[in-house]
Symmetry: C2
Subunit: 235 residues, 2 copies
């Protein structure tokens, strides 16, 4: 018994509590719907890329730089995930491509179920080549919920710091590429690009790191080359 509070419980013996264990049935159901999404996308020959990252890491801005460069060559659509507002959808629609907004109203990640609905509403059509899903701004929870994507891309901004791959390993571990955004700010920050790369490779030796700035355009070509390679992935 605790001398200060009389607590008999096990809260003094452990840090993790039941709410941290995501119900296995939920993960299993999500995985099942994600597999179904993949099967549908494969049938229509559509590549899906799940873009994750912290709030304000530059996910929408990356799409604003990417879409004008590719939309004349390939048919692309976007699924926007946000807690609230349709600000990002409005930004994407200005680029002249279809966009479907999901508002989670407080929830911290997209689930395969929500993307399944969006795919039906938006672009399940053989004329589409590529769907970007912009996940809810969160560097933790989306890691547990695959959506049926071909690739997961993390956007990490230089302003967030070079230590993030080791502090939030799960989302980096399962990702195919990491976009280090806002490199134009590096000169104003205490950010070490090589340390960031080393930390990322310790967590995920296979991750492709692409450093870029949407502001000055440096690195955008490398990202577009990676994207071009990703779209040609054999099914």
């Amino acid at each position: 018994m605790c001398e200060h509070c009389g607590n008999h419980g096990n809260s003094h013996e452990k840090e993790s509590v039941a709410s941290f264990t995501i119900n296995k049935d939920i993960l299993s159901k999500n995985a099942e719907i994600a597999a179904h999404n993949r099967e549908m996308l494969d049938r229509f020959g559509i590549t899906m890329i799940n873009i994750v990252g912290s709030p304000g890491s530059g996910k929408t801005t990356l799409l604003e730089k990417t879409i004008p460069a590719i939309k004349n060559e390939i048919k692309v659509a976007v699924i926007e995930g946000d807690v609230e507002t349709s600000n990002d959808k409005e930004r994407i629609e200005k680029l002249g491509i279809p966009c479907y907004q999901i508002n989670t109203h407080g929830a911290c990640h997209l689930e395969a179920d929500m993307v399944h609905k969006a795919l039906h509403e938006l672009c399940l059509d053989e004329s589409y080549d590529l769907v970007f899903v912009e996940n809810v701004g969160n560097l933790i929870c989306p890691a547990d919920f695959p959506l049926g994507e071909d690739f997961r891309v993390v956007v990490l901004s230089t302003a967030e710091g070079d230590d993030k791959p080791e502090k939030y390993p799960e989302i980096f571990f399962g990702s195919d590429a990491v976009i280090l955004s806002k490199t134009d700010l590096i000169e104003h920050l205490d950010f070490d690009l090589e340390k960031c790369r080393e930390r990322l490779l310790r967590v995920n030796p296979k991750a492709k790191l692409i450093a870029l700035s949407a502001k000055n355009g440096k690195g955008i070509d490398e990202w577009l080359s990676w994207l071009s390679w990703a779209i040609t992935k054999p099914r």
Copy 2:
């Protein structure tokens, strides 16, 4: 039945799924332990401040600027919440004050139970005046889990963008103060301070916005004044 996939479920009818509804029992149990934490803190005359914000928003840096300015006047301790690593604890301990590290190993927020344990280990002693809890870097999930704090402070970095209060309203709604950090970067960003303030006040008319830069020191005095006011709160 869906023509593309034969899905009979309700995934075409709704976006929210069961996993988004946090078990009421968990929230209720958390609230109970948070109340108990408050009761203990009140008994010892300790003020607790829960600092929340995105990864890399500047929460630890704020503490690094705050603690040297106050530690000769008041006795302060820090509880550090991180998914992984004890990097932040090491930074705080260099300041010469006690720090307790909680690693959540994948979980996206602190809970009252974890803070309860940390308080016992760290500082339940009448000689302490103030405990900072640095929550896990996440602008969504910590909003649902009060820890027994007297005040919740959100740290939002200018690099995250001026639209965040409306995009992540819940965490701003329930907070007492919002620290707009990294104001030294504003000249390099497309960030409108007045728009950010308006958006914050639409979500939470009572929130105190303090714009500051840990780099050039502007605004730190205003934060320290607010802190000084907060510590004298009648119990």
